[in-house]
Amino acid sequence: MKFDNFSEAIQHARTLFEDISFSYASNWKKQNSTRHIIGFLPIYIPREIIHSANMLPVGIFGAGDRIPVVHGDAYFQSYICHLPRTVIELAKSGHLNDFDGFIFPAICDVIRNLSGIFMLDNKQKFIRYLDYPQNFEGNVGGKFYRQELNRLSTDLEKLNGKKVITNELNHSISIYNEQRRLLKLLGDFRSEFPHKLSAVDYYLIQRTAHTMCVEDFNPYLENIFLLLDKLDVEPEDKIRVIISGSFCEQPPIGLIKTIENAGCYIVEDDLQLNLNWITKEIPTDTDDPIGALVDAYINHSIFSSTVYEGDKPKGDQLAEQVKDRKADGVVFCAPSFCDPALLDRPQLEKAMDKHHIRHFSFQYHENLGQFHVIKEQAGTFADTIKLWE
């Protein structure tokens, strides 16, 4: 699969994004009987382990407005965020039938209880709620996490009989290292030339990393780089913003577009946080690759609302990001009823004030269709910075 033109390449990503049947994954699975599909929810999971078990980790980020919610509302009251509804809807309407298992990373109470709902509803499938340590001492939290990961790999082994072995896991880590490297380049490119790579296109490419197998994705992304180089687009008079708080339930594409159309280039965001979770290259030459993953998680992961901040204030880290990306301001954009994001907001806002960084905030849900209020707010934000400063 090679693309000669940027819009075709993006169209490919869009098609994958819109395909709520995950047919890419199904096709991948058909090629070999030991292949399995493991769905995972936001935010972070160590995909390397799944990969080396010969399984495809597929990110499930809800289904936005691409599926009408009928059954989902029977599972969740109106004052719970929207994402778990479309996840249920996908399951109920058979779109996840080809999946062999699901991993629910510890992120919040909703996802936690969703794992229980899946257990009640899908008795025959592999369901795992994966707890991450909130203690960052290697011999305490690290030890616990290592045991959790070991338990995960033994459980996966039971599915297809494929053992996770050291050199294969090392290989998996290296190929994901490469993915992380490429994605970081893409992020840097977007930040430098936001007019060439719109937030929506960037997002679609990122989503592809959670749909395609890594062996297909890495060349796809290299292909994109070649095409991006050829693009010739003039920058517009827009301000630069960072989006914070959308790490789980995803804002609708229309919303991302609205923000940019209203005059704000998005130069950094946390929509697909899993992809940038590990901030360092993980060593691939150890005889303890699980240990390497544990170390990466404990010592080299990005700040997030779902991780105990300890003595590294998240606000300062966000301010750092603003500086790195030369952003004019921060847009706190969180799903309605999202505890992790919304409970962080007061302190993050205070931190932005402290650093004299402009910000504004709003809430959304994944199937929002009316962007009026957001357009006005984003527009005013841009006006304010443009007209006066």
């Binding site: 009408p68 919610v69 009928v70 059954h71 989902g72 029977a74 929002l368 269709g369 009316q370």
Partner: protein, 431 residues
């Protein structure tokens, strides 16, 4: 005669059903008076009584003159005329009230101008509505005085300039509520006899046959043995506690009476939507209701109809003409109204927009249904909104898509379901 009465005081309409001792419906009445629940209940009950009497006349004529096969054609026409006379009484009353209002205006020039305008407007409205009644284009239970009048009136003044338009709407708004809320003591006998005179010429032959029956039936005692009130306003009724019952149970029971195999009931009323699961005896096992927000219930469509200045009963048929459903992004009724205007200005066909709006209301109802436990076989759709063909269409579509092959019932008298359930409860009184 032993009869039982059920009254459903809805948020937008009040319904009454009278049944006999064999649980057979003998009369229905409905009003959209919303002033005071006592008045609304009285009016609905009075209407049900009139309807019962006409039914009794019909039954007796059928038995006494079986050779005349025409009764089923004549009686509805008689009822039309009867309803027209009721309408006319209110209409006269309203026009007087409005004229009094106009006479109080300070600006005498304006006063004169408006009086002139009103004379022709009243004449036109009366004529056109009379035609509607006489040709059976309205049936007394689907169109109310306010709706009939206001659509015609607003249409007539639409093109006047701002000051006159504003004044004339204000005059109407000020007059309608008191007029609507007045109990007019219609004399059944007198009014039906006058209606008899209004029968078309070719039916005048029945005049003398019917007359004695009307006189006789007018005096039958229809005071109920027992009665039960239900619905949104039931708490406000001056009834004793044992005469009040939750509308959820009444709707379920009524739906079960129409369709004994019902297991799931969806009721979309004026201000609330209910999803109810029932067992084989018509008893509720679980239910869900929406919050107090117009989005997703009858008033949503009512508001849209007002925005477009057409009557609610026209909405559905227009939406049925759509080639696809315009996506409506706003949930709020008012915002949806604004979106409707926007879309119209962008050149979208009104049929498609309306279809989108209808679909939206059904989608909301399905969230509630899901929460109450889904849709089980058989599924019965009740409430005033079940009269809207476009809503029925989308309900059917969504049931089939999401729950498979399920028998779907909807009764032409579905608006009376709650009242029927209440009447049945009062007749059985086991609880």
């Amino acid at each position: 005669m032993k009869v039982y009465l059920g009254i459903d005081l809805g948020s937008t309409t009040s319904k009454a059903v009278i049944i006999d001792e064999h649980n057979r419906i003998i009369g229905r009445g409905i009003t959209n008076t919303r002033s005071n629940y006592k008045i609304a209940a009285d009016i609905a009950r009075m209407e049900a009584e009139f309807n019962s009497r006409l039914m009794i006349v019909y039954q007796r004529l059928k038995i006494d003159f079986p050779e005349e096969i025409e009764w089923q054609n004549v009686l509805p026409i008689l009822e039309n005329r009867f309803q027209y006379l009721q309408f006319k009484t209110r209409f006269d009353h309203l026009s007087e009230t409005m004229i009094t209002q106009v006479n109080q205006l300070e600006n005498k020039d304006q006063c004169k101008k408006i009086l002139n305008l009103l004379t022709t407007i009243f004449y036109d409205i009366e004529e056109s509505i009379k035609q509607k009644f006489f040709t059976g284009k309205t049936s007394g239970t689907s169109e109310f005085f306010r709706d009939l009048f206001s659509v015609a009136y607003l249409h007539a003044i639409e093109d006047f300039d701002k000051t006159i338009f504003d004044l004339m709407t204000a005059i109407y708004d000020r007059s309608i509520t008191p007029v609507e809320n007045q109990i007019i003591d219609f004399n059944f006998e007198e009014l039906t006899i006058r209606a008899l005179d209004l029968l078309p010429d070719e039916m005048q032959t029945y005049h003398s046959r019917i007359l004695p029956y009307l006189e006789e039936v007018s005096n039958i005692d229809l005071a109920p043995e027992d009665y039960i009130g239900t619905g949104y306003g039931r708490q406000l009724l001056p009834f004793e506690k044992k005469h009040i019952k939750s509308e959820i149970l009444c709707h379920a029971f009524g739906a079960h009476a129409y369709f004994p195999k019902t297991r799931t009931v969806l009721d979309i009323g004026g201000q609330d939507t209910k999803a109810i699961q029932v067992d084989s005896q018509g008893f509720v096992t679980s239910f869900q209701m929406n919050d107090r927000c117009a989005a997703g219930c009858g008033r949503y469509l009512g508001y849209i109809a007002d925005e477009m200045n057409i009557s609610v009963s026209e909405l559905g048929p227009i939406a049925m003409e759509a080639d696809y459903e315009t996506n409506i992004c706003s949930t709020c009724t008012v915002f949806a109204g604004a979106e409707l205007r926007e879309q119209l200005n962008l050149g979208e066909r009104k049929e498609n927009i309306l279809a989108g709006l209808h679909k939206a209301i059904v989608q909301r109802a399905f969230a509630l249904l899901a929460r109450s436990g889904g849709v089980r076989d058989e599924f019965t759709f009740t409430g005033g909104v079940a009269r809207n063909p476009a809503v029925v269409k989308y309900v059917t579509q969504m049931v089939t898509e999401n729950y498979g092959k399920i028998k779907i019932n909807s009764h032409p008298d579905s608006i009376f379901t709650g009242a029927l359930g209440a009447a049945l409860f009062s007749a059985t009184r086991k609880i």
